[in-house]
Amino acid sequence: MTALLTLPAAGEFEMADINYVAIAPMIVVFAAAVLGVLVEAFAPRRLRYPIQVGLAVLALVIAFAALVLPDADSVTGTTVAGTLAVDGPSRFLSGVLLALGLVGLLVMAERFGGEGPDAFTPMGAATPGSAIESAAARAGLATTEVFPLALFSLGGMMMFTSANDLLSMFVALEVLSLPLYILTGLARRRRLLSQEAALKYFLLGAFSSAFFLFGAGLIYGYAGSIRIPAIGEAAAASSGDLEPLLLPGVAMLLVGLLFKVGAVPFHSWTPDVYQGAPSPVTGFMAACTKIAAFGALLRLVYVGLESTRWEWRPGVVVIAALTMIVGAVLSVTQTDIKRLLAYSSVAHAGFILVGLLAFDITAVGGVMFYLVAYGASTIAAFALVNMVRENGAEATHLSQWAGLGRRHPWVAAAMTLLLLAFAGIPLTSGFTAKVAAFMPAVAHGGLSGVLLVVIGVLASAVTAFVYVKVIVLMYFTAPSGDVGLAQPALLSVVAIAVGVVLTVLLGVVPGPLLDLAAQSSTFVR
């Protein structure tokens, strides 16, 4: 359908030319998701968990292979009649999404020795606290549909980073968002909070999608095409007649995307949703959604809106500054670790925006590196949050983390490392990422770039205070209450280990990934 819609711009009819090798990774993920739905329908209940986990892991591994194995030249280019662009950034980010998605799935699959995925309610449809719910729990039901949902979402994210016209971008946005709304509402504990979060996320998400769609319409009116490269060309050749359509259109498109990355003032969903969603989903969402949304944002502004950036860049500069300041300052007052990480993710979105606004090819590499570094640390951090329990429930209040360093030194040490990475201490990935994102901003961002970087480092100092507060709690404060770890946690431990290793590795030897990101930073047009 989307191919047909673009026809007026293309001007002549042609068969959609599909490079199946290039989009094979997406096909694999979506196919596995559909298969997962069939498994839910037909497989016996007790087999569903192993089948679903195996299917999802297998699909991600195959998709990754399908992404990496083909020669770059043979797949690079636009495909499906120009609606998808497979190029350096999209392949790099798809690979990252697959890898981190796999780690995220492992955390979701964590059972802690129970029957099904521990973080999810046994029956999503049951009213919280009702008899049906407790009956489902007694019967040992498990919500294994989270795996196909996550796969759908992941496929949407991959498509989001490749979408080369505004409509396929919108489709991808919905495909990635809708499963996330459901996943958010499936928490096993504190279900009302979870459902409230899901509803809030859904309503605001739908609202922002509408903005995006309206913006796409206005831009179509301006450029006569919804293809992103064509928008860029139209803007470059603009005679100025349709200029009034441009700025509102760009603003609305950006609202839609900035909502997804959680930039101020479109961030208000972040703390509630991060807190309400099951922790594994929060980690998945924080890492992967951010990667996908920034991937789409990169393509939109670097390919489509680059030539008009003088008109809208000042507005986004203000948004980036606000995002960093608000994220950092509000994180100071948080008393819940998940809300704290949510505000920190807002601040990080601001740091990434600083790099993005540099409008240089090195900035693309820097932003992509930042996304990897942040994503790896974040998934591990939420996996840790998921493990720390008091009386079976997640101990998310900061006071419950007091003295964790004495009782569980390894968990506290891992969390400390991740927090130091968020703070941007050298020899962790967070530091390299900040340098990689800030350097292009200073070099090519002009005065506003330098100012943003200064605000960025000051905001970093503020957030560092927050992270240090948590470290102080874990190490220097006497333990209170009966906080322990959920055990056995093999899958979580694997995921945390991956995150921790990446955090150190990208801090000590970031060269290879930085080079890869730099080589992958050319967009096809």
Binding site: G365, R406, L420, A423, G424, I425, P426, L427, F431, T432, K434, V435, A436, F438, M439, V442, A443, V450, V453, V454, V457, L458, S460, A461, A464, F465, V468, K469, V472, Y475, F476, A478, P510, G511, L514, D515, A518
Partner: protein
């Protein structure tokens, strides 16, 4: 042998050592830590023998490998006279501090530093972690002085904060959390501002895959406001680190709340990164801006000298007093650096070394007192020279070194700084000289209050060292009561107090030896420092022309050097 990676070895050995130490049981851990630090010192001495004072290269023992080429970062190490001297100082201080910290955690009497409820956890907390953390400072100290890549320097500069933070926050005194967080935030704020400047510097420089090397960034002639901004970015970070007034407030807290050994390494070595950074980076990379900023920096340095000294006089806590004396001394060092005469510069560089040893002696000897008495308050003491004469003597020598008594090392450096400053800024030299008078006050007053006076009451046969009973009342927390001051307060008991043990003598002996050697015969050190000093001044482009003393300033530098030899 010149290609042998001496400096990397100096980083790797203690790093591996600290990792090993962390996994050993406490008693063995500290022996291993001490052994590793001695081994590192031996390697350092061996490396120093490879150093040639007459070399034409700025950096010797150089190593260079590409680290993050896409960001222009190299793993590049190398030393000139200044950094070599600082590294050797750090290597000497490390085993001394480890030895001084030997019983920090296993003796009950030190526990008064921590709140009583925390005693158990402090003493049961693994000793090996403490020694591993102490040892882990060594690689950072070597790395930060040896880095010849701005980015690498920054990495060491910032990463170093973490072990220090834990050393203060885990093992310090009552307000250790406050002190640790304050330390970290001040340092981070400065460091992150510097990060912007580091990035800006790379962009102003030639770029490329080795664009962060100091040699590629030297002599850029950036000029204009860019250079000034970059200079400020670096300078603020170093001023916080050094620390200078008005960004010094973290130091008294950090020094007072940490263990003496940690305070020694913090003030004696790590803070030198600030003054070292001013020389290596501010002066070398931004010569124009350095001269532009000179009046303000000199004014701040003078304020630091006087402010530190005056506040030191008013302190009631020994550790805080010593911290404030350091602020005063750092004022001298910065003054000498920004006076831009070779005499003052040589003096500042020598001062960095001397101050390291002198502060170490003050902190560690004060720590020995505190270990006996259980209080850092000055008014808890008095008459101690009759109880512990050797300790008192050592304390006096350390104090005299701090007030720059002729014949002890600090005198040489302070004299050089003031003479050198006088050549260019007579008024600044005159004001700085006031600091000497105040130094005599704070040191001698401290000695008088702690060591002289009536003999403290000794209860014969009392088996324990000082620390009162567990059930001691508030008054008994001050077992020594002076009748003239504390009317109506019940006297507590003082058990038998041991004078310095062999271990403590071993801690103090090398420090006092350094006072005497560097005090009477500083020439070898100055020979190592001088080529580097002259190079730095060349780079700034002000090499020693002095309107008041035309054409003979180089000689006057020599003259003052020689003059202080006797």
């Amino acid at each position: 042998m010149s290609d042998f990676p001496w400096l990397t070895l100096l980083i790797v050995v203690p790093l591996v050592g600290s990792l090993v130490t962390a996994f050993l049981p406490g008693g063995l851990a500290k022996r291993v830590a001490l052994g590793v630090s001695l081994l590192t010192l031996a390697i350092g001495v061996a490396a120093a023998t490879q150093f040639q004072t007459g070399s034409g290269e700025q950096f010797q023992l150089a190593e260079q490998h590409s680290w993050i080429p896409s960001l222009g970062v190299s793993y590049a190490l190398g030393v000139d006279g200044i950094s070599l001297a600082l590294i050797l100082m750090a290597l000497v201080l490390a085993p001394i501090c480890l030895l001084a910290a030997w019983h920090d955690l296993d003796r009950r009497q030190t526990a008064s530093l921590a709140a009583s409820a925390e005693d158990e956890t402090v003493s049961t907390r693994s000793e090996s972690t403490y020694f591993a953390l102490l040892l882990s400072l060594l690689p950072f100290m070597v790395g930060v002085f040896a880095a010849t890549d701005v980015f690498l320097f920054y990495v060491f500069f910032e990463a170093m904060l973490i072990p220090v933070y834990f050393l203060i926050g885990l093992y310090g005194g009552e307000r250790r959390q406050y002190a640790a967080v304050k330390f970290l935030l001040y340092s981070l704020a400065g460091g992150l501002i510097m990060l912007v400047a580091v990035i800006g510097l790379y962009i102003a420089g030639p770029g490329g895959s080795d664009g962060f090397l100091v040699e590629r960034l030297t002599g850029l002639e950036i000029g204009g406001s860019t250079e000034k901004w970059l200079f400020l970015g670096f300078f603020i970070a170093f001023a916080i680190k050094a620390p200078m007034w008005p960004v010094h407030t973290w130091l008294p807290d950090a020094a007072a709340e940490s263990r003496p050994a940690v305070a020694t390494l913090l003030v004696g070595v790590l803070d030198k990164v600030g003054t070292y950074g001013m020389i290596r980076f501010c002066l070398q990379l931004f010569p124009e801006a350095s001269q532009w900023a000179t009046p303000v920096v000199i004014a701040l340095a003078l304020v630091s000298i006087l402010y530190g000294a005056v506040l030191a006089i008013g302190q009631v806590d020994m550790m805080r007093l010593i911290a404030f004396t350091s602020i005063s001394h750092f004022g001298f060092i910065v003054l000498g650096i920004f006076a831009f005469t070779s005499t003052a510069h040589a003096g500042s560089n020598l001062y960095m070394i001397n101050h390291g040893f002198s502060t170490a002696a003050l902190f560690l000897v004060a720590g020995m007192l505190v270990a006996r008495r259980g209080s850092t308050r000055i008014d808890a003491y008095g008459g101690w020279q009759r109880v512990t004469p050797v300790l008192a003597g050592v304390f006096l020598v350390a104090g005299l070194s701090a007030l720059a008594l002729p014949g002890l090392s600090s005198f040489v450096s302070e004299f050089l700084v003031i003479t050198g400053t006088f050549q260019r800024y007579p008024w600044a030299g005159a004001i700085a000289a006031l600091g000497l008078v105040l130094a005599a006050l704070y040191v001698l007053l401290l000695y008088k209050r702690v060591m002289t006076g009536p003999t403290p009451e000794i209860v014969e046969g009392e088996p324990t060292l000082l620390r009162g009973d567990e059930s001691a009342q508030r008054e008994q927390d001050l077992p020594y009561i002076r009748e003239d001051l504390d009317e109506g307060v019940r006297a507590g008991r003082i058990g038998l107090v041991a004078d310095l043990s062999w271990r403590e003598k071993a801690v103090v002996a090398p420090l006092i030896a350094s006072f005497l050697i560097l005090g009477f015969y500083p020439a070898p050190v100055l020979d190592v420092l001088n080529p580097a000093v002259e190079r730095t001044l060349d780079l700034v482009g002000v090499s020693d022309p002095d309107h008041a003393v035309p054409a003979s300033s180089a000689e006057s530098a020599d003259a003052s050097t020689n003059g202080s030899d006797h």
